[in-house]
Symmetry: C2
Subunit: 445 residues, 2 copies
């Protein structure tokens, strides 16, 4: 058994558990990559008299945030298609640009920039969907982040692959190479009902079942998607996925904006999780997901930023605040989704969706030490009447002071710690201008 | 004529004018409290060879932000009533606490903390409504901010006054003492249709007309307010204000969430401005203001944070992003309210509502030098395809680097500059714990 090497002494701990959501003047003992114990300060100190605790006066310790849906590589495309609908955004800006640009280096550079932004904002694990997933995995690994990298499946060819079989073959081979990786795992990522055919969905369902992998799919994002499915398949997209044998607790329904009662019942019956991405849904005018109905149905909900080309911040704290406020405003129920439950969606809800709820998502003994210290000493956060509510409704990523992933201290005083990775990151930053020139050329041609 | 004393050389200038919304590699020359000239860098340098320009490489210069509705003093009450509806929030948390707590020192301390938060977030002018307005004026003056301080009118007595006549008498006397104040001005602030009687509204209308003052009133915030007015007055609130002679271009309708076609037509006919406060409206489950209809009707719209007890951030950049996204999502029109127009709402829209559009709200020669430099060098803001869109959709108050009010440099490198005020601010910060104890006692009694 690994011995305790570090003790954190925050002012408060938001555990993201129902039993004891908020602990006051407790400490967390870390052994290797795990949380060894949580207990009253004096008790933890007495057990480990030789360890000098890390003082986090006035800080709120929360579980590492889980970004349940993003396309990290797209950070290089941030802002190329603002103020456009999903259809025009995809057809006129994103797909033409991606068609000419997507390459291993584009994915690596964009993903590394996204990982930097996410980690500094308290995100310790993200669920991704994009081409060249090996490059996104490499970027996450460089910064010491946890990731579930999507094995993309889409009917059209790209520079990365020729079609569904090729995408699956490459993705599964990549997964094999990472089987013992403590930080990088994989999910199946069929793009969407309007870009993936029945055969490919059936293959995904089979593999998901055989390998017990999560399935990450955009679904019911727009009314257009639903009507197109009705016209083409005679069924709404969720019913079609159900008929293809795909629905189950391993499915993460990304967006899930346009839902009727039958759709909600299907999701409930199959215990599907939701990746709620309110900024993207609003920005592309897709609509407002029926969070009140989902909560009433007992669905598991996580929060996603989506890619930075449609959001445009990879900021889960900002995203979750909007989610919380929007749920109240759209339902007319001010008491809906109180702050402590929103914090659950940002952490254990995302972890559960990814099948990782035994490893991450809450601060409990035995779990991975993925931890974020929020500096509640900031004058604009004082006085503090309820630390969790203050964090959710008034906090921001500017208050993320320290981050640990698997017990490793990766952010301190709002800066990345690892000097080895910082050199490589600086190289990528120096290339941003080159990418911008190439994108400008494509957009003006 | 004052001579030019400072030249700013940002990468871009977002002017908040329709003629030239974005200027590239232009400079701003400041003389005293005013913008003396704007022109291409070389031209401005040639005109003033003796002045060393302030280099703002990679920065976007924007007009100082105008927070069109807040209750600055309430920052001490932030978080005491989260996850409650407006009615319960007011009746169970805010009014009982205020009843026991409101005093000159409560208003001064709370307002000073709010001014600090606003100024560091790029807000150079705010429109306020609260008791003891002289204390809010004093707080704003200490930090060198511009403010329009509300002369509150409310039918019930408070520690500050006995009723409408007393509130008006005290407020107008305060106004007289500030007639020559370059930064502090006043507006009439009848609280709301459900807390102000017909006589008081008539008095407000008369004074507003005689003294040419803006009128700042919560109106049509909730469905309950509208139905109560129908029951009590046989008319919807806006119609009642109209019948009392109050509607006109000097009126700032705060919230304006629950509007029918007739309400919108009234606002359009009388050229009423809107103070849109989406976070507060969502958080208290009041609803979503019909921004698309307001824009179609050509109404002037500004953005307000509301007080930090109902928001809970005095962050106009975050507020405006939500406003922009929500307008698209709620209307189904992704092209509605593009970023440049949202920036106008944050600046010249607010200025126009306050009757200050000739002094502030845009970057034009002759106007007051209220300016904010946004640091777009931040890695998470690169590449930059459209600086205004990048600021609105991806920027945050963490990117506010420098702020000038009336030509005075008040924020540099994210820190308040004035050492004289910083001592007084530190005293107030040291008292936050005392306030917290008193509020805890009241809430637990």
């Amino acid at each position: 058994m690994t011995t305790v090497s570090r003790i954190l002494e925050p002012e408060w701990i938001a555990t993201a558990t129902r039993e004891a959501p908020l602990l006051d003047r407790h400490s967390v003992a870390i052994a290797g990559d795990r949380i060894a114990a949580i207990g009253p300060r004096a008790q933890i100190r007495a057990r480990h008299p030789d360890i000098e605790p890390v003082a986090l006066a006035g800080h709120l310790l929360i579980p590492g945030l889980v970004n349940l849906h993003t396309h990290a590589a797209m950070s290089l495309l941030r802002g190329i298609g603002d103020d456009l609908s999903l259809h025009r955004w995809l057809q006129e800006r994103i797909w033409p640009t991606e068609g000419k640009l997507v390459s291993p280096s584009f994915v690596y550079d964009g993903s590394l920039l996204a990982c930097r932004e996410m980690l500094l904002g308290g995100i310790t694990c993200f669920n991704d969907m994009y081409f060249y997933p090996e490059e996104t995995a490499r970027a996450a690994a460089l910064l010491g982040m946890r990731a579930r990298v999507g094995i993309i499946v889409i009917d059209f060819p790209s520079a990365y692959g020729t079609g569904p079989e090729d995408y699956l073959r490459k993705g599964l081979a990549l997964r094999d190479r990472h089987l013992d990786d403590p930080l990088i795992g994989f999910c199946l990522a069929p793009h969407a009902p309007y870009t993936v055919g029945d055969d490919a969905f059936r293959r995904v369902a089979t593999i998901a079942s055989e390998l017990a992998m999560p399935v990450h799919v955009h679904v019911h994002e727009t009314a257009e998607e639903v009507s197109q499915s009705l016209a083409q398949h005679g069924r709404r997209p969720l019913q079609r996925l159900c008929d293809l044998g795909l629905l189950g607790p391993e499915v993460i329904a990304v967006h899930a904006v346009c839902l009727d009662e039958h759709d909600l019942a299907l999701m409930q019956a199959h215990n599907v999780s939701v990746a709620h991405c309110p900024h993207s849904n609003l920005k592309l005018a897709s609509g407002i997901a029926p969070i009140a109905r989902m909560l009433d149905a007992g669905l598991n909900i996580g929060i996603g930023t989506d890619g930075s080309a449609s959001n445009n911040r990879l900021d889960l704290i900002d995203e979750a605040r909007t989610a919380a406020l929007l749920a109240k405003g759209a339902s007319g129920r001010a008491d809906l989704w109180p702050a402590a439950e929103v914090l659950e969606a940002m952490t254990i809800g995302g972890a559960r969706a990814l099948g990782m709820e035994k490893q991450i998502g809450s601060i409990e003994a035995g779990k991975q030490a993925d931890l974020v210290a929020i500096d509640m000493n900031a004058t604009e956060l004082r006085p503090v009447f309820d630390p969790i509510s203050q964090f959710v409704f008034a906090g921001g990523r500017e208050h993320v002071a320290d981050v640990w992933v698997a017990g490793k201290h990766v952010v301190h005083k709002r800066q990345l710690l690892d000097s080895a990775s910082s050199g490589k990151l600086a190289e990528v930053v120096s290339r941003i201008g080159v990418w911008q020139n190439r994108i400008d050329e494509i957009l003006s041609s």
